[in-house]
C-alpha cells in the first residue's frame, strides 16, 4: 500500500502537480489566476462557501508600499483545519496573486513578496473544509519622490 502510494505521488510530482489536492481543485486554481476581477477570482476559488471576516488572521502588509514591485506580505492564523491561504490584490490586472496549500505538517503561516500595480485593497483568505475566513487591508502604492 505504501509503495503504491509513493509511486502514485512520484507520478503526480513528475507532472508537476500537487499530490495533496485533487486535480479538479488544481484546474480551479488556473481559472482563478486568470480572473480579472477579485469577485470572479473568489468565485472560482471558493464557489458558494460561506465567507466570514475574522480577526484570528494576522495579516502583515505595509500601509504605504516602498515600491509596488516588492511588497512584503505575511499571513498567519491559528484557526483550526486550514486547507489553504490565498492572497488577492483587488486592483491588479489578475487579482489572485498566490495560493498556499497547507497540510497538517506545516503551520498556517506564510510570507512572500508581491507586485502591486497601484494602491489597492489586499485580501488574506483562509479556507477550512467548510468556510473561508478573510481580512483585508488598504495598501497605498505611490509614485516615487524623484519623479519615478
Amino acid at each position: 500500500m505504501n509503495m503504491n502510494r509513493r509511486q502514485w505521488i512520484g507520478g503526480m510530482l513528475a507532472l508537476g502537480s500537487a499530490a495533496l489536492l485533487p486535480l479538479r481543485a488544481l484546474a480551479d486554481a488556473k481559472t482563478a489566476f486568470k480572473a480579472t476581477s477579485a469577485d470572479t477570482a473568489l468565485q472560482e476559488l471558493f464557489g458558494d462557501l460561506p465567507m466570514e471576516p475574522s480577526d484570528a488572521i494576522t495579516f502583515k502588509v505595509p500601509d504605504i508600499a516602498e515600491n509596488g514591485a516588492v511588497v512584503p506580505v505575511s499571513v498567519a492564523t491559528d484557526i483550526e483545519g486550514v486547507q489553504s491561504i490565498a492572497i488577492v490584490v483587488d486592483e491588479n490586472p489578475n487579482p489572485l496573486s498566490a495560493r498556499f496549500n497547507i497540510s497538517p505538517d506545516v503551520a498556517a503561516d506564510v510570507s512572500t513578496r508581491v507586485k502591486m500595480g497601484k494602491s489597492s485593497t489586499v485580501r488574506a483568505l483562509v479556507k477550512t473544509s467548510d468556510k473561508v475566513y478573510f481580512t483585508t487591508k488598504e495598501v497605498k502604492v505611490t509614485i516615487g519622490g524623484c519623479g519615478g
Binding site: A98, D105, V110
Partner: protein, 103 residues
C-alpha cells in the same frame, strides 16, 4: 538548468523556520523591452516543499509574485538530519530546486 533555490532554516522545538529565495524573472507578460517588444510571460506556477520524501506544502502562484520570489514558512515535526527540499516549475516547464539539511 535554472538557478538553485536558496534556503535558510532554523530548527527549534521540532519546528523548522524556513526562508527561501528563488532566482526567477517572474515576467508578467505585460512589460516591454527597450525595443518596445512585449516580454513574454515567464513565472513560477507551482512550488512544492518536502520534508524528506513527504510533501508538506505546495503553492500556486501567478505572475504578480515579485521577481526572485521570497517564500517563508514553518514545517512541524522536524528533527535534525531532516532534509527540506523546495522545488518549482514555471509556465515554460522549466524547473529548479534547493535543499537544506536541518541541524
Amino acid at each position: 538548468m535554472a538557478a538553485e533555490v536558496k534556503i535558510r532554516g532554523r530548527l527549534s522545538n521540532g519546528v523548522a523556520d524556513i526562508k527561501s529565495l528563488m532566482p526567477h524573472p517572474m515576467e508578467t507578460g505585460t512589460q516591454r523591452d527597450p525595443q518596445g517588444n512585449l516580454i513574454p510571460a515567464h513565472y513560477i506556477e507551482k512550488v512544492v516543499c518536502f520534508r524528506n520524501d513527504q510533501e508538506v506544502l505546495s503553492a500556486d502562484w501567478g505572475a504578480s509574485v515579485s521577481k526572485d520570489p521570497y517564500f517563508a514558512f514553518q514545517v512541524k515535526n522536524c528533527s535534525p538530519g531532516d532534509v527540506i527540499r523546495i522545488t518549482w516549475v514555471d509556465n515554460k516547464g522549466e524547473s529548479s530546486s534547493g535543499e537544506l539539511v536541518l541541524k
